[in-house]
């Protein structure tokens, strides 16, 4: 056998609750309890009585006809990331042109977040935000190794790039008549 055997045999019937929800009809069934298709539903377009007022910008999927009766409002689109998000919502959820720009916008939003912190006189405490105290407390050796590896790779890339620059600046040799 390929793995450690720490497992003890058990009689399932000794486990509290065994078989209490067994359902022979669930083989396999549909995860809906009151199944009906749209045609059977006399009120398939039913909406709640009140709709949340749209007093903030809400981006709407073009796969639905309207804004839902309630919606979240924590972070309306702003800045460059907002422009990208608005462009993304011109395409359906079926398209990469919808999702990939949203991922790009998320990354742009991270930079905007740092700039916003700085503009408000706040220097982000990256060490604390990343919870590195926990790595230091519970995983110190691996954490130091990881940091050292990242440091070494970064230093190597910097050295490699700077040596490349020197090579480009090497003076071109000419012969005594000034010919190349």
């Amino acid at each position: 056998m390929e793995t450690k055997q720490n497992n003890r045999p058990i009689d399932p019937k000794q486990i509290k609750g065994w078989g209490i929800d067994a359902d022979p009809k669930n083989d396999p069934t549909y995860p809906m309890r009151q199944r009906m298709n749209v045609g059977q539903d006399p009120d398939s377009k039913h909406r709640p009585d009140h709709l949340q007022p749209e007093n903030t910008e809400v981006l709407r999927s073009i796969e639905r006809p309207d804004v839902s009766a309630v919606f979240g409002t924590p972070a309306p689109p702003v800045g460059l990331s907002g422009l990208i998000r608005r462009a993304a919502f011109k395409y359906s959820e079926n398209e990469y042109k919808h999702w990939l720009p949203l991922i790009v916008a998320d990354r742009v939003g991270v930079v905007e977040g740092i700039l916003s912190d700085l503009a408000h006189g706040k220097l982000p405490n990256i060490w604390a935000e990343k919870g590195y105290d926990m790595e230091w407390k519970y995983n110190r050796t691996a954490f130091i190794t990881k940091l050292a590896t990242i440091g070494a790779v970064t230093a190597g890339v910097v050295v490699w790039l700077s040596s490349g620059k020197k090579e480009k600046k090497r003076p071109v040799k000419k012969d005594y008549l000034g010919r190349f």
């Binding site: 399932p12 929800d21 919606f71």
Partner: protein, 384 residues
């Protein structure tokens, strides 16, 4: 009020934010008493869910006390202690009326592919979550459920997601009496799915993960066999071998996008984001279930595409089922199970931190430090 604040991949902090307001007549404001970090929060934390905006507050597992209600709220009142299902559902639309409270059509404007979830990106509706002192809870006549007076808040907070999701994973697997059930992933959901598989009459329950401490926990909590895939040459061959070369009757994917175990999936899914997360567990599930078996997916993947052996699904005659959990539908039964001592949700909790230390909590859970299984965050107002 104090609230968790997302700043970018693997960067979160606790900051002061404005108090939430009633924005719809069916809204309520809840003072949060307990909130948890969920495994699916890690997809957001790692920056893998599109439209996760800087400044958002995560948290879809929380319980609290109602402190304000909108004009149309009649089912709960100020002072009630409620558990809040993680999905936001109107209770009236075509889908809610079929018990599909995880697929409500009137709570998410920004995506049709997923229902609305508290604190789970704008793709899931753009609502702030419960990792805060206070939270806005839409459709308060539908979602919030009054916590029975004899129920521990630690049990109640796990009834908002972990217990119903683990239970629905087992339910969707269509388990028949005596079936062999394999669960990929020994996180809180996988452990609960393994525990619930017995309730449906499973004859054998096996859990697969790569963390020994989690496997040991699952053995004791879920009474199941537990194996480490790092000690196997091939998990699919291993499962075939221990099931008399037939494959498991039912397999549950309780891992989702953060799966380890396959370099190609890890690089393309988690590092380069060329697919919607690493689909290693789902790949193994399809290949290790028996012909004609059922694969139940509760692991979360992103909205784009994943590389899985869909041809095998057709050739083996499999049934694949998945959904966001319909928490409201399952709650009456599950509250009963907790009250009768059949399920012990709070037994999953290993860590408790103040909300101020939310960054440490995420790091600890994400990096699986200090044998972490489940972390509860305590807002400062929880003790008032």
């Amino acid at each position: 009020m104090l609230a968790m604040d997302y700043r970018g991949p693997k960067r979160v902090r606790a900051v002061q934010k404005p108090m939430p307001e009633i924005k719809h007549p069916q809204d309520a404001i809840v003072r949060v008493l307990r909130t948890c970090i969920c495994g699916s929060d890690l997809h957001l934390y790692n920056g893998n869910v599109p439209d996760t905006r800087v400044g958002s507050t995560f948290g879809h597992e929380f319980v609290g006390e109602i402190v304000e209600i909108g004009a149309d709220v009649t089912k709960v009142k100020v002072g009630d202690r409620v558990l809040v299902p993680f999905n936001i559902a109107c209770g009236e639309c075509h889908f809610c009326r079929q018990g599909m409270f995880g697929n409500c059509n009137e709570s998410n404007t920004e995506s049709t592919a997923v229902g609305a979830i508290f604190g789970y990106s704008h793709t899931a509706g753009g609502y702030n979550g419960g990792q805060a002192e206070y939270a806005r809870v839409p459709y308060a006549n539908v979602g919030p459920t009054i916590i029975p007076p004899d129920m521990d808040l630690d049990d109640a907070v796990l009834l908002t997601d972990v217990v119903p999701t683990g239970y629905q994973a087992a339910e969707m697997a269509g388990i028949q009496t005596g079936d062999t059930v394999v669960v990929f992933g020994a996180g809180p959901i996988g452990i609960m799915a393994a525990r619930c598989a017995w309730l449906f009459g499973a004859g054998r329950v096996i859990i697969i993960d790569q963390e020994d401490y989690r496997l040991e926990f699952a053995r004791n909590y879920s009474y199941c066999e537990a194996y480490n895939f790092k000690e196997m040459n091939d998990p699919v061959v291993f499962i075939k071998k221990i099931t008399d070369w037939m494959g498991a009757d039912c397999v549950i994917d309780a891992v989702g996008a953060e799966a380890a175990g396959n370099t190609m999936q890890t690089v393309t899914g988690r590092k380069l984001l060329l697919q919607a997360g690493s689909a290693t567990a789902l790949h193994w599930a399809i290949n290790s279930v028996k012909k004609g078996g059922v694969v139940s997916i509760v692991g979360v993947y992103g909205p784009t595409d994943n590389l899985v052996p869909i041809g095998n699904m057709m050739n083996k005659g499999l049934t694949i089922r998945g959904n966001q959990t319909s928490v409201k539908r399952l709650l009456p039964r599950l509250i009963e199970h907790v009250q009768n001592g059949i399920l012990n949700p709070k037994g999953l909790i290993t860590h408790r931190l103040p909300l101020e230390e939310v960054a440490d909590g995420y790091r600890m859970f994400s990096a699986k430090l200090d044998n972490c299984i489940k972390t509860v965050l305590m807002p400062p107002t929880a003790n008032q």
